[in-house]
Structure formats: C-alpha cells, structure tokens
Symmetry: C2
Subunit: 244 residues, 2 copies
DNA sequence: AGGCTGCCGATTGTCGACAACATGTAAACA
DNA sequence: TGTTTACATGTTGTCGACAATCGGCAGCCT
C-alpha cells in the first residue's frame, strides 16, 4: 500500500505560473500603483516587447484584468485603464457591505481553528511598525485580513466576487491620503476585535461589527480621498458599464 | 449646431460580435442544456474544427467560461465542465440573497420609469402559456426578470457579480424537475408583486419580498431537484475552489 | 469656408505552426 | 512479480504573420 503516500513530504508545491498570469500581475501592479494612469491606453505590442513576451500572454492578461474591472476593452481599440471616481467608492462599499456581511456569518460557522489563529495573527498587526508609515505595507495587511475572512467563509463563489473587488479596494487604499491614526484604529482595534468575535462564533455580533468596520473604513476613505482633483473619471460615461 | 444629431435615427445598433463571444455562447449553451455533461473534457482542437474557427477564439471562450465558473481550466489539461451539486445550490442562493437584497434596495431608488414598465411587463409573464410547459422558455423569462432587476440597480459591479451567477442559476432551472404550479406562482404571483412594490419605491417592503421570493425559489429548487441520482459532482474535490 | 468622402497608418482579431508539458504505457531492473 | 524509469502520445502554451477594422487626415465638392 504505497498508494497512501507514506510521508506527505512537507514541501511547498511549486507554483508553475504561466506567462499570462505573470504578465497580468505586472500590469495589475502598474495600475494599482499608478504607474499606468487612468485613461491610459495599453498597447499589446508595447507591453509585449517591454516584458519580452509574445502578444498572446498580454492578450490573456488583458482579458483577466477586464474581468477584474481594471481595464475596459473595446473592439479593435485595445485596453484602457479605468478611472477612479467617488461613485466607484460608493459602489465598492455598498457591495462589500453585502458580501462581507455574508462572509462573516459563514466564517463564524465554518472557519477552521487554523484560520482563526491566522486571523488573530493578522488582526493584531504584528510585524507592522506604525512609526514607519508605509502605505503599501499597511494596505497589503488590510487586504490580507479581509481576504482571509472571505477564505474562512469557505464559499468559492463568494470568494470569486471578492476577487473582483480586491484590486480596486487595494487601489483606493494606495491612492488615498493617509492619516496616521487610521491604521492603528483598524489593526490593533477593529480587525483584532473582529477576529475575536468570529472566534467566539457569535454571528449577530460579528455581523454588526463588520458593518461598523466597513462603515468606518468607507467614511475614512471618502474623507481622505483627493476630492476629484488629481485624476477623475477617465471618460465621461459609465466606464465599467459593459454588461459582458 | 448639427452636432446635436438632429434626429437620433431610431435604428438598432449592429452588434458586431467577435468570434470569441460567439464561440463562448455556443459552448455555454451546450453546458447549460446538458449537451456537455459535467466532468466532460472540452478539447480546444475539437471545438475549433467543429465550429470552424481557429483555436484562439475557443481559447478566449474558455477563459470567459472559466470566469463564469462553468468550466475549470488546469494547466496543460484543458477545460472540464463543472458538476452540479446540492452544495452549489446553497452557495448560489446564499449569495443571491445578499446580492439581490442590495439590488432591490438600489432599484427602488434608481430604477427609471422605463425599467419599471419593463419589469411589470416581464413580471406579468405575458406571452407565456402555462399550458404548454416549456421549461426553457420559463427559465429564460425567470432569468430575464431578475436580470432586469439587477440592471435597474444601476450598479456595474453588482451586475458583474450577478453575471457570474446567472448561467449557473439558469443551469439549475433547466436541470430540475418541474412542477406545474411553480411557474404560475412565480410569474403572475411573486414577480408581478415585486415589480409593483419596487415601482412604489418602498425599500423595506421590497427587501422583504425579494427575501421571501428567493427563499421560495430556493426551496422549490431543492425539492424538485434530482437527489444526486443522475449526475452528481463530477470529481471528488471542491470543483470551483481554484482561487485564481 | 464648411462639410462630406475616400484613403492611410495604426492596432487588434484571427490563424496555423512549433515548443513545452502532463499523462499513460511499456520496458528494465531488483 | 512489484517498482521504477524512459518513452510515446496527445494536449495545451506561446509565437510570429496575415487580415479585418478603427480613427484621423487630406482632398474634393457645394
């Protein structure tokens, strides 16, 4: 019975990432960090030779980014980086309220002890020095906590929905002006409390708490967001309006 | 000032559909109707020559269907039609409860008079003869009503989430065993009532009503669903579990 | 002078071919 | 005879080239 795989060999599986995924990551990185500005036209050939790949992976990457809503693709006119508008913040957070409400309820039921440990770990914000205010690092930690929350819900489609929202939330977190007190409040405050209440398996308290947390996060975002001064909506109409 | 486009010319825009979209439609059709069975391996070359196109559009179509969650794509192993399981129904409807709750609330605020008219029209189920029990036709009408509801919410990302759910809901509606009374209850009953209450702009009543409607729809589905007899989960593990 | 129509460059959609990879089979070894 | 390794096969990932299409510009007509 060697079929049982005697010892599982504690080794990390090697993620054989395809070129398409790699390219998508690079472009996504460029968009969320602002290297690619809203409204900018992304040309397949330019990106292809810049990354030293063929157009096919770039094409696949565009499709992926289109699914994520980071670019709009029009027939024979290529990909355009979507703009950030105040309306987008409203849309994003109204959706998050609905989705994360479901996520916490499920998480209180289905989260494994291991996931709860990880949540407390991330919620405590250990390893983050509030002194050195690295926006990128904090944004990543913020996203990571919520990502874990969605994972703990064990609901594949729910997680897929969140995956469509995540890069946008990330982009907003990176774009906004940062207030020092905010992150402390979030990490050693709300995230930690959320981790605790989810661990206690009380659905109502957790639901209420995530609503408050998102409410606070939302208001902080609109408060510290550059008031449509720098980079508004790229095009006049509804950018992500293509049904598809 | 001829810029005003003197008369808008009442002509339908010609939908220049790309081959990729066309191919995606055909394959999706095959999956939801059951022509492609769960677990079946879809080969690019076969589909390409069957549809008389190159592999590229088929590839794009696979990416789209993967995004919709209808197929799983593994590296160098192609696309596999995902299976239908009872758990999927639970996931689907828990998500719908969250999403459509938001949708009706927004619809009560933002639906245009034109959209309200269409909703009443679709809700009345005019043009549908209950006598001739055409599952396909009823399922399409059911989906169409809810689709309009999401559109009336005027929330691009919310609609995108629904677009990921729609084909699955459609598939379940087609797969289940049909009870004659169900559709009457839905159409000349609940949908019509929903259209009315949304037209009256009362958010609370609408929210409560959609919850009831989905609850009923859900229970009808699990009741009339073949109890894992015909075609269960294709593969053992969690099929749509790939985070991607 | 103003507006329309036909071409032109640029960019993407599609195609067929080659290379990389995963799986199943068979031979070789202990 | 059971296990391991190497090969053969089939499928997908990537590539470069061609063709369809879009937007802009110049020339023409009124």
């Amino acid at each position: 019975m060697t079929e049982e795989e005697a010892r599982p060999i504690a080794l990390e599986v090697v993620h054989q990432r395809s070129l398409s995924e790699e390219v998508a990551d690079r472009i996504r990185e460029g968009i969320v960090t602002g290297a690619f500005k809203p409204g900018q036209h992304l040309r397949e050939v330019d990106l292809a030779e810049a990354l030293e790949v063929s157009r096919s992976p770039v094409r696949d990457a565009f499709a992926q980014l289109h699914h994520e809503g980071l670019v709009t693709v029009r027939r024979h006119r290529g990909a355009v980086v979507v703009g950030l508008s105040s309306d987008d913040i409203e849309d994003l957070y109204s959706l998050r309220r609905s989705l994360e409400g479901l996520a916490v309820r499920l998480a209180t039921e289905r989260a494994t002890p291991d996931e709860l440990d990880q949540m407390r770990e991330l919620g405590s914000g250990s390893g983050l020095q509030p002194a050195a205010l690295k926006p990128r690092q904090f944004a990543e930690a913020d996203i990571a906590f919520h990502d874990l929350l969605y994972q703990a819900a064990h609901h594949a489609r729910l997680y897929a929905c969140w995956s469509m929202l995540r890069p946008h939330v990330f982009r907003f977190l990176l774009t906004r002006n940062i207030a020092e007190s905010d992150y402390e409040a979030i990490f050693i405050g709300e995230h930690a409390a959320l981790a605790e209440v989810i661990s206690s398996r009380s659905a109502e308290a957790a639901t209420e708490m995530i609503a408050d947390h998102l409410e606070g996060s939302h208001s902080r975002l609109v408060k510290h967001y550059p008031t449509d001064g720098g980079m508004g909506q790229a095009r006049g109409g509804k950018n992500a309006g293509e049904g598809r």
